[in-house]
Amino acid sequence: MNDMAAARPSGAPVAAAAPAIELKDLTMRFGADGPSPVLAVDRVSFSLAPGEFVSLIGPSGCGKTTILNLLTGLLHETPEGKLEVLGKPPREGNPDIAYMLARDSLLPWRTALENAAYGMEIRGVPKQERETRALDLLKQVGLGDFADKYPKALSHGMRQRCALARTFALDSPVLLMDEPFGALDAQTKLTLEDVLMNLWSAHRKTVVFVTHDLAEAIALSDRVVVMSARPGRIIADVPIDLPRPRSVRKLQSDHRFHDLYAQLWGLLEQGTTGDE
């Protein structure tokens, strides 16, 4: 592995003062002007300190992805309440944000290297620099030997590794990840979670990680925010005090991990079944 961490200015810890992401009483109504508005997100408040890894869990349709889309500025409807990324309101194409989708969305006509460099290419990083950085990231995710392969030649796990490389190569201080491992089989998922943990330890981004998978949320996060079924509200905001660095595989046999699992599962059940 190369010394990426040394080359990056944004890796340094920031004073605890300003949150990296802040949501205050965020409410999102789709079709607010129409006859039947849908309340997707209901008075959600939470914030992330710089470098913090927070998972958002909750049943399908609870507004997790909506929150991510609001943070990226991809939605054309505006929410109520406060929403800030590094002290600024969201806007489409914000260079402070790297977004990773559930599917790898690799461009099939580009090699792994060209895909890993795609984000930087859009953001105007010079060719030489982006190729060096892309190759370095591919090595970090274990795809160094596959740089010139097209996506069709890569397995699901490898494709998602490549998407991780593309995301981290952007070097944005904030990472938004929407169930990035949701489509993988259990084994591959554990491996990729470890790859993510390694990258995150080396690059220390602020991460909002949306997932259905409770074990994944606990294993990766500093905090887990539990949301209720639609309209999405926050039920609990649970700190995960497992020591780092963590190995997702080893955690599977740690009793604290299972205690947290049981606790969060209870909260999640309560949110799914009940109107309080």
């Binding site: 990226t72 991809l74 489409e92 194409g93 914000n94 260079p95 944000i97 977004y99 989708l101 599917r103 969305s105 461009l107 099939p108 006509w109 580009r110 795609y118 984000g119 290419e121 859009i122 953001r123 097209y150 996506p151 069709k152 952007l170």
Partner: protein, 251 residues
């Protein structure tokens, strides 16, 4: 490899047997050569046409030239119009009913009109062929651009891509395979259009020769021409396949 060899050997045996039976049947009047020709006669015709009398070269040249020009003109116009439609969806919507109407019409029926407009030279057959190629390539271009993966668009927008970047880095390359299959079909239809127009009337061209041979009941010649046209179509397909493999290695 052995399997491939055995398969091609099988084909050779079949073709030789087919020709032998045909020749035998014609020689013994089991099959009337006035209607079906005769393999030896067909071969003799081709030999005369390309080697001793060399008259077919000229017609082959005209047919291929017309099909090539029609293919390029029709395809370039179609891709450009398709891209314009992608950029101005309202224009596409406005034009769609007329295009559907034109596309539904059997284009070969335009040949008499085009012959009147453009004469017996190369112009009229190019016009017929373009009328076929254009619509095929246009519809594949539109389909290709519509078929772009929405994940790729979301990702690019989140990255801050400009509409121009999205178009050239995502939409266009993702449309290329579908546009290409349209081009392949477009080339085959360009040949169809040219030969069809030549059959009706033309100064030169394989279609015109075919019509003449038919009217003089030269069945060896007709069969030879059909064989030539099939070969021409086949080589088009080969060329396009080769090109596709070269251009779309990522597929």
């Amino acid at each position: 490899m052995n399997k491939v060899l055995r398969l091609s050997l099988g084909h050779v045996v079949f073709i030789v047997a087919f020709i032998a039976i045909w020749e035998f049947a014609s020689a013994n009047r089991l099959l009337d050569p006035t209607f079906f020709g005769r393999p030896s006669g067909i071969a003799a015709y081709i030999w005369r046409g390309f080697v001793t009398e060399r008259t077919l070269w000229n017609d082959l040249f005209y047919t291929v030239l017309a099909a090539t020009i029609a293919f390029w003109a029709g395809s370039i116009a179609a891709v450009l119009v398709g891209l314009l439609f992608a950029m101005v969806p309202k224009l596409h919507k406005a034009c769609e009913p007329y295009l559907t109407l034109l596309n539904a019409m059997p284009r070969i029926a335009l040949a008499p009109l085009f012959l009147l407009w453009f004469g017996l030279g190369i112009g009229s057959k190019i016009a017929v062929a373009v009328s076929l190629t254009f619509f095929i390539v246009l519809s594949s271009t539109v389909a290709g651009i519509r078929g772009v993966n929405s994940d790729h668009l979301v990702l690019s927008r989140a990255l801050g891509a400009t509409p121009g970047q999205i178009f050239f880095k995502v939409t266009l390359p993702s449309a290329v395979p579908i546009i290409f299959s349209g081009l392949r079909l477009g080339l085959v239809y360009a040949l169809l259009g040219v030969v069809g127009a030549e059959l009706l009337a033309a100064e030169h061209g394989l279609g015109q020769v075919l019509a003449y041979l038919q009217s003089t009941f030269d069945m060896d010649g007709v069969m030879a021409l059909l064989f030539l046209l099939a070969l021409l179509g086949l080589s088009i397909t080969f060329i396009m396949n080769w090109l596709e493999r070269r251009l779309l290695v990522w597929q």
